[in-house]
């Protein structure tokens, strides 16, 4: 070590310049920062779920549909000149937007009529005549009731469909989203109606916009807060500089490398900078505070740097390695955002270590021997005596108290739910959340599921037997799932034609397959050019698309309903079904991500245990090591169970981060303990740890809490949950490390030394 410090001292300026240039050069790539929000990134390229969904998009024209709704509270509801005119104009304006393929509204709904053998399919409302009559017709028309018009005739919706090729492009989603909002703003001023917007493209657009905001606003804010805190604590330029240099250099290098490797930021990885910062800060803080400790006690600056490095390099190396290994397991995931996170944090751990042992000491070595250290603006625990004694005298009491708290809180685990919901990821005051809430309240379900039923035989969807099965299925679906509000498929058009063209028949559906085929031909022939039924059936007429509108529900319920649907068709019929649509793949995605994270975390814990076992060569020490790190996760999960917060992606990530950071403190604690216990008794050893490392542990936790608290202001709920969970868990870990751990060690020490 002496030689290394001499080396650093010789080349300190060179080292500083060298690393600065490298980081600066890498940072040039930051100008290529890009965001992505597409569903595709969440799936392994070979994923069957993804393939099936893309097939669906190709054959059925996709499901990228915005819903715009508004309410007219006057006594005829929307069936007055003003509302109808608004719908007509909006339909027109939306159709004109680039990327929009089709718009369906109350006014352009293809209404079928047959009088005196004159069959017509035309826009339902083309002028302002007979609106009272139109109202009566609309409220009885199963094709639009509870989808385009509400039961009380007061709320109406317009659906805006993006073209299939463009719909999966989030830039198009965002463009159309913003354009629609623009148009709606204009009309709100004109008409005084309040408009609401929802639909999966709106959710996609919002996800990207929110992550952009978080990246652009919250991250810099976090940096400002940390800098401020460091200054308040240390009141010196060096005190701000050392940790900042390590954090910023690590953060810039990791981000630049990601961008150079072609990665884009998404809702998940937009948090990488804050994770990286939190990992980097621990190393720098321990080193810097150690330097302060030795500087106030030694003669030369060089001596202080030497001692600080000598006594901390091993724990810092260990913490970096455990973090790197822990997150490396994520790096093997086939889900890109997760592997990106793993790679980023692993490289962050290693880079932070490198910067901490090169640049940080080099900067410190520049200072003169007579550099005055200001007292830390904080309670000074570097000279505390008697804490060890306190622990030793009360060890059993401490352990029992913790045990009780632990059992009580851990019991909350029985209430814990792992669940998620993409719309609920947004706070109540966001556009999509408001939109979905309004639509569900007044009109129909805001979640859309696409069921593709495969008859496996060409033209078989024209069989009455098949169509009757669809009718039966719908009845049972409504019966079993109260959240389902509306269903539609080509079957409804055929039933309508039968009503209109063959009113004297008692059959809901014609028995004659040829008649069904001719109904479809007749309907097709009468649609205005541009409209067709191609999105309702496949070109072989062997697959039928059934669209379900259902209320927002948690992913676990989604998956249950999807399973029920597929099972129903499998068990009760000779046909098969496949549930598609973005709601469905979101549901699968949440589950697979949560599963991946839980697996990774478990693996990490296992690896750390093995590593610690190899180091301690003692099972009881290994247990003592792991307990203060796993307990916070368990305890927080228990608390969440009690207060009813479900565990979502944000929380799952939090567990990974907590593990990475909390372990560091424990490593520092243990390394100091084993060193001290060789020469001193237990009480003095504990005092030594408090004097030399506790400040770093406490201050790191404080700064991290401040950093993460910024994310509690995000509009993205998983970020908020992440912030709260992480802050609470880290502080719990600190208390466990500083109070429970010494108590447990005291008991063990007494046992060993009897």
């Amino acid at each position: 070590m002496k030689q290394y410090i001499n080396l650093l001292n010789r080349y300190k300026y060179l080292i500083i310049v060298f690393f600065t240039i490298i980081v600066a050069t890498l940072s040039i790539s930051l100008k290529n920062i890009a965001f992505e929000g597409s569903y595709k990134i969440w799936f392994d390229k070979d994923s069957k779920i993804l393939k099936d969904y893309e097939d669906f998009r190709l054959n059925f024209s996709g499901d990228d549909i915005f819903y715009i709704a508004f309410e007219d509270n006057s006594k005829d509801g929307v069936f007055n000149k003003k509302a109808i005119n608004t719908i007509m104009e909006l339909t027109y304006e939306f159709e004109d937007i680039d990327g929009v393929e089709d718009v369906n509204s109350l006014t352009n709904y293809p209404y079928m009529s047959d009088s005196d053998d004159n069959f017509k399919v035309e826009d339902f409302i083309e002028d302002f005549d007979n609106l009272k009559q139109k109202r009566k017709i609309a409220l009885q028309d199963k094709l639009i009731l509870n989808q385009l018009i509400s039961r009380d005739g007061k709320t109406t919706a317009i659906s805006v469909k993006l073209s299939e090729e463009l719909g999966s492009n989030e830039e198009v989603n965002i463009y159309v989203y913003k354009k629609i909002l623009q148009i709606l703003n204009t009309y709100e001023e004109k008409t005084a109606y309040k408009f609401y917007l929802s639909g999966t493209p709106a959710v996609t657009a919002s996800l990207v916009i929110v992550s952009q905001n978080d990246a652009m606003i919250l991250m810099p804010l976090a940096v400002v807060i940390v800098t401020l805190l460091l200054f308040i604590l240390f009141r010196s330029f060096i005190g701000v500089l050392i940790p900042s240099v390590v954090i910023v250099f690590t953060f810039l290098s990791v981000l630049s490398i990601q961008i150079l490797l072609g990665y884009k930021l998404n809702n998940f990885t937009v948090n990488i900078p804050s994770f990286v910062s939190s990992i980097a800060i621990a190393d720098a803080m321990h080193l810097y505070l150690a330097w302060i400790y030795y500087k106030t006690r030694s003669s030369t600056n060089k001596e202080a740097v030497y001692l600080a490095m000598k006594n901390n390099i091993l724990p810092i190396a260990l913490t970096s390695i455990t973090t790197a290994i822990g997150f490396a397991t994520l790096g093997f995931s086939s889900i890109e955002p997760i592997s990106t996170l793993g790679v980023a944090i692993t490289s962050a751990a290693l880079l932070a270590f490198i910067f901490s042992i090169t640049i940080a000491p080099s900067i410190l070595l520049i200072l003169k021997d007579n550099y005055k250290i200001k007292k830390i603006n904080f309670f000074d625990i570097s000279n505390i005596k008697g804490y060890g004694k306190f622990i030793s005298n009360n060890d059993k009491k401490i352990v029992y108290s913790f045990l009780i708290v632990f059992i009580v809180l851990a019991y909350g685990l029985t209430y814990t739910k792992i669940d998620s919901n993409s719309i609920k990821y947004f706070k109540d005051d966001t556009v999509v959340r408001q939109g979905s809430n309004f639509i569900e309240d007044k009109l129909t379900g805001a979640m859309v599921y696409e069921v593709i039923i495969n008859t496996k035989v060409k033209d078989a969807i024209k069989d009455k037997e098949f169509l009757s099965t669809v009718v039966k299925f719908e009845k049972e679906l409504y019966k079993n799932f109260k959240n389902v509000r509306f269903t539609s498929s080509i079957k409804d058009i055929i039933i309508k034609e039968q009503e209109v063209l063959n009113p004297n028949s008692s059959e809901l559906l014609p028995k004659d397959k040829n008649l069904i085929a001719q109904y479809i031909l007749l309907y097709n022939m009468n649609l205005p050019q541009g409209k067709s039924i191609n999105d309702k059936i496949d070109s072989d007429y062997s697959k039928l698309r059934l669209t379900i509108n259902s209320n927002i529900q948690d992913t676990s319920k989604d998956l249950a309903m999807i399973d029920w649907i597929n099972n129903w068709w499998k068990i009760n019929t000779k046909y098969s079904s496949s549930v598609q649509g973005q709601t469905t793949i979101f549901a699968y995605m949440q589950k697979s991500v949560s599963d991946t994270l839980i697996t990774s975390i478990s693996l990490t814990i296992l690896i750390v245990i093995i590593l610690m076992l190899a180091i301690f060569k003692d099972l009881s020490y290994t247990f003592l090591f792991m307990f203060p790190n796993i307990a916070p996760i368990v305890l927080v999960a228990g608390v969440m169970g009690y207060i009813g917060i479900t565990i979502d992606i944000g929380v799952a990530i939090s567990a990974a981060v907590i593990l990475g950071i909390a372990v560091d403190d424990t490593i520092h604690f243990f390394s100091k303990y084993f060193k001290a216990i060789k020469e001193q008794n237990f009480e003095k050893s504990i005092d030594y740890i408090i004097n030399s490392s506790a400040s770093a542990m406490i201050l790191t936790t404080l700064i991290l809490s401040a950093t993460f608290s910024v994310f509690a202001t995000s509009s993205f709920i998983p970020n908020i949950n992440f912030a709260i969970v992480t802050i609470v868990a880290l502080n719990m870990a600190l208390i466990l490390d500083l109070v429970l751990l010494p108590a447990l060690l005291s008991i063990k020490y007494k046992k060993q030394n009897i």
Binding site: L166, L501, N514, A517, Q529, G530
Partner: protein
Amino acid sequence: MIKKLLLTIGLSTTLLMAQTARDIMQKVIDRDDGDKIITNMQMQLIDKAGHKRVRDMKTYSIDIGKDEKKLIFFLSPSDVKNTAFLTYDYNDDEKDDDQWLYLPALNKTKRIPASDKDSSFMGSDFSYFDMTKPNLNDFNFKIIKEAIVKRKWGNEDVWLIEILPKTKAISEETGYLKSVAYVKKENYMITRAKYYLRKAKRVKYMDVKKFQKIDGIDVATITTMTTKKGKRTLHKTVLIQSDVKMNQKSVTEDMFTTRTIEKGI
């Protein structure tokens, strides 16, 4: 003096040109496209994924004065076999064109009011308006330029004629904001066309892939119509006429009634 002369010449030429555009279109409409025709027609409907659906039909058409009547019998697919279609295309703009569709499975004939010419013909990319002769008085015509359309079988000299609906009502009725017709100078047939739809900025491209001379009459035997939005093809129709027979004695005026579509030929 010179100025006045040039102005007069310029004006007259312009007037001549304006006349010419409409004249050209008049000649397109008046062109002898044959009479008492029996043809087999195949319609291929191709979606954006490239999946194809095929309909086979047999058509009969007759000119009665300046009016035209057509019978179309579906031959396949089998579930629409014997479905039949009758149209009356009146030259007189006072009279509305008429269409009827016979559904054999229902044993009923439905009249389909043709006032909505914007509707698709047989579910294809052709609209009803595309398949009938337009009333020239509804439109303004302008020669955009003269050009050459390169074909496999040689080059075609064409006029590009812009066709603009005179009123918003006509635009709404036909479904078009404007169209551009490529008219062959050689025989006043439209060899290519672009249609700008009112709906959602779509554009349709019509192209004749094959011409044949049958009994001295030029016939477009393969025509495609592709609906696009921007660069993206939304849907395509290929219309193939085969076994085209002109001047068939068996085609008589009294055939073109609803009775025929119900009972068959």
